[in-house]
């Protein structure tokens, strides 16, 4: 039997299981939403029930849990019992991670597998660090936005360490795909939580430059705009006063044949938080509208009007934003 639990022979015909009486599932008289179970599935779970009730923590029981997992990787009772067996047998957890590698290759969007990995890695401690980081990288090479893998990687970094190359890894992923929102999120995670870096405020200037470059290359990319805003979390005043941010918005607004939506939205927020617009900014915004508009006032209203036009899916939102502008905004 291989780790996928491919069944060459039904359990009832295997001599090594002849002493065990399988325990059938008793659904009761009128089970709701019955699922059509294959014979294979039914039999494996009947034998699992038997060893579970007998609390048999043997190598053959371990093998049986592998077969059950292959059919039913979401069954947390099977995983939990497997953990009990592994502990009783004092099994090699590196080998266990090998086993999970294989199961995960066909079941990667399954919470139980990731929890089991975490359990094994936690027991192994620092021994598991580079292996777990490598494993998640492998998952990302096939799916760079794999949510479970990113959660696992974040847990590994916080519980076991390995921060040294993380920022570089984010950079690498963003070079492959600047639209990868998971990589942007991870970048934020690193700059705010890595014990090896100076923290958000220290990193801010260089991060703003990096983000600005990403935005200029693809102004329609939502991720770096959100990231930019995130760099000034809880510090709107610094965002409003940052010349790099303003200059970035202007550059995007003046460009032709690019999306202006996020630049305008950013400017709207800046204006609402007290930005005093320069003539250059006022002209750049007015160039986007066909209206003459009164000079020097109602700029935020104008921005909203432009947004209604360039982001029509959210026209009702921009109208509402226009109607709820703070009274003192320009």
């Amino acid at each position: 039997m291989n780790s996928h639990g491919d069944h060459k022979m039904p359990l009832s015909q295997r001599p090594e299981w002849s002493d065990v009486t399988p325990v059938p599932q008793e659904d009761g008289p009128n089970p709701v939403l019955p699922i059509s179970l294959t014979d294979d599935f039914r039999e494996t779970m009947d034998y699992f029930r038997a060893v579970y009730l007998a609390d048999e923590r043997s190598p053959r029981a371990l093998g049986l849990t592998a077969e059950a997992i292959a059919l039913n990787a979401a069954n947390y009772t099977v995983w939990q019992f497997r953990r009990l067996i592994l502990e009783s047998l004092e099994a090699d957890l590196h080998e266990e991670l090998d086993f999970v590698d294989v199961v995960a290759s066909s079941n990667s969007k399954n919470y139980q597998i990731w929890h089991h990995r975490r359990w094994a890695a936690e027991k192994l401690g620092a021994e598991a660090t580079s292996r777990e980081l490598e494993f998640t990288k492998k998952v990302f090479s096939a799916d760079a936005k794999h949510y479970h893998a990113w959660s696992h990687r974040q847990w590994v970094l916080q519980a076991l360490g390995g921060w040294e190359d993380e920022l570089a890894y984010c950079q690498q992923l963003l070079e492959v795909d600047i639209f990868n929102n998971s990589a942007w999120n991870q970048r934020y995670f690193v700059i705010t939580r890595s014990p090896l870096l100076g923290g958000l405020e220290t990193m801010r200037d260089s991060e703003v430059s990096y983000t600005a470059e990403a935005i200029i290359s693809k102004p329609e990319n939502e991720s770096p705009w959100r990231y930019l805003r995130g760099l000034f979390k809880n510090d709107m005043q610094s965002l409003v006063n940052d010349p790099q941010v303003l200059s970035l918005c202007l550059t995007v607004l003046k460009a032709e044949n690019v999306s202006h939506v996020f630049a305008l939205s950013m400017l709207l927020d800046l204006l609402c938080h007290g930005l005093q617009p320069s003539e250059e900014l006022k002209n750049a915004i007015r160039a986007l509208t066909s209206e003459a508009g009164p000079p020097g006032s109602d700029l935020a209203r104008t921005v909203c009007s432009v947004l209604e036009r360039v982001d029509p899916m959210r026209i009702n939102y921009w109208k509402w934003r226009k109607s709820t502008l703070p009274s003192q905004v320009v």
């Binding site: 939403l33 009730l53 039913n72 947390y76 990868n180 998971s182 990319n221 959100r226 990231y227």
Partner: protein
């Protein structure tokens, strides 16, 4: 790979699919599933109760739940409840809720007593939702055991684990705990303040919520966060008109992030720069409804997108043109209820059940 636009001439094989919500076909789909689920679903045997919730609540949204045998449903659901042998056991650290199916509920051969408590928080939520949906007032459940043992699942950081024997902890289970407490009308089973703190820590720099602190913001997690806060009483109606400082979460940023999840094809995505998917019309649409901002979406575009995911067999698929599944079907029906499709029951968004069921009519 994209289908041709709905309503175009190449759709002449099944014109009804593209143009309108096909309620009758959806009822048929659910009734077929209810009778017998195909073996492709056997991997979900462990949480069959969740599938039952999709089917029963789905039929209720479609105003067809009366076609079901309610007594049978109630009796099957109740048979999945874990009961402590005596009251002292309520402090043994276990959670006494509902199992998702017999596959986590084991019977000793010698006597008829169920042993080995594998009850699960999400299954408990589904059990209560189903019971309410078929008209039961939950007095038949052993709610005391649920409430007294619920706290064993809450973690020091405020999050919840779904089973006491050990599992991942994240916002999904905070939501389940809040919904369970709300349906039972009793908050003694959880520390709301701690849960609130955990939720706040899950709000990402971009305004959405991740499943755990530091995780990427995600439509499903955002629903769990906002619905939980609503149920626990930490956010009220008319949120948008209140000043930013009075709210414990960053509402303007959340609003902007959530609205931006409606993509060019009219559907909702779960994260920026990811494909649109039927179910986010419920998760993110639901968030917007709770915030009082549903009118800011483009309902026409959303409808059009959802209809491309409507299957000619009944039900909805994840992406346009694929085969339907029970999960996306339920959230597709719920999304149409949010769109106020005629003939559907309105939904109490934060509980995921029909409105009249939520208030006990």
């Amino acid at each position: 790979m994209e289908d041709s636009p709905p309503g175009s001439s190449s759709d002449s094989n099944s014109p009804s699919r593209a143009e309108s919500f096909d309620r009758d076909r959806h009822v048929f789909f659910l009734q077929m599933m209810y009778q017998l689920m195909p073996s492709q679903y056997q991997g979900q045997e462990i949480n069959r109760l969740t599938l039952a919730y999709f089917a029963v609540s789905g039929l209720h949204v479609l105003r067809s739940v009366d076609s079901l045998h309610k007594e049978e449903i109630i009796s099957w659901v109740l048979s999945l409840q874990a009961h402590p042998k005596n009251e002292a056991l309520l402090n043994d650290g276990q959670f006494y809720g509902f199992h998702g199916s017999r596959s986590s509920q084991f019977q000793k051969i010698d006597n008829g007593v169920w042993t080995a408590n594998g009850s699960h928080l999400a299954s408990t939520y589904c059990a209560l939702a189903i019971l309410k949906t078929v008209g039961n007032d939950l007095s038949v459940t052993d709610s005391e055991s649920i409430l007294k043992s619920l706290k064993h699942l809450q973690q020091p950081d405020g999050s919840f684990m779904p089973i006491h024997s050990g599992a991942e902890t994240d916002l999904r289970f905070v939501y389940c705990a809040a919904a369970i407490s709300s349906m039972l009308g009793n908050w003694s089973g959880m520390d709301r303040e701690m849960a609130k703190e955990y939720i706040i820590n899950c709000q990402s720099y971009d305004g959405g919520f991740g499943l755990t602190p530091g995780s990427e913001s995600h439509g499903g997690a955002t629903y769990c966060a906002v619905a939980s806060l609503q149920l626990m009483g930490y956010i009220e109606d008319g949120l948008l008109s209140k000043s930013a400082s009075s709210c414990i979460i960053d509402v303007p940023l959340l609003l902007d992030w959530s609205l931006q999840r409606q993509a060019a094809d009219g559907g909702f995505q779960g994260r920026p720069n990811k494909p649109t998917d039927t179910c986010y019309a419920f998760w993110v649409g639901g968030v917007l409804r709770i915030l009082g901002a549903y009118q800011f979406i483009d309902e026409t575009a959303l409808r059009k997108f959802l209809l491309t995911c409507q299957s000619e067999y009944g039900g909805f698929s994840k992406l346009p043109g694929q085969l339907p599944d029970l999960y996306h079907s339920f959230y597709g029906f719920s999304a149409f209820s949010l769109l106020e499709e005629p003939g559907l029951h309105p939904i109490r968004i934060e509980l995921g059940i029909a409105d009249n069921v939520a208030i006990g009519l």
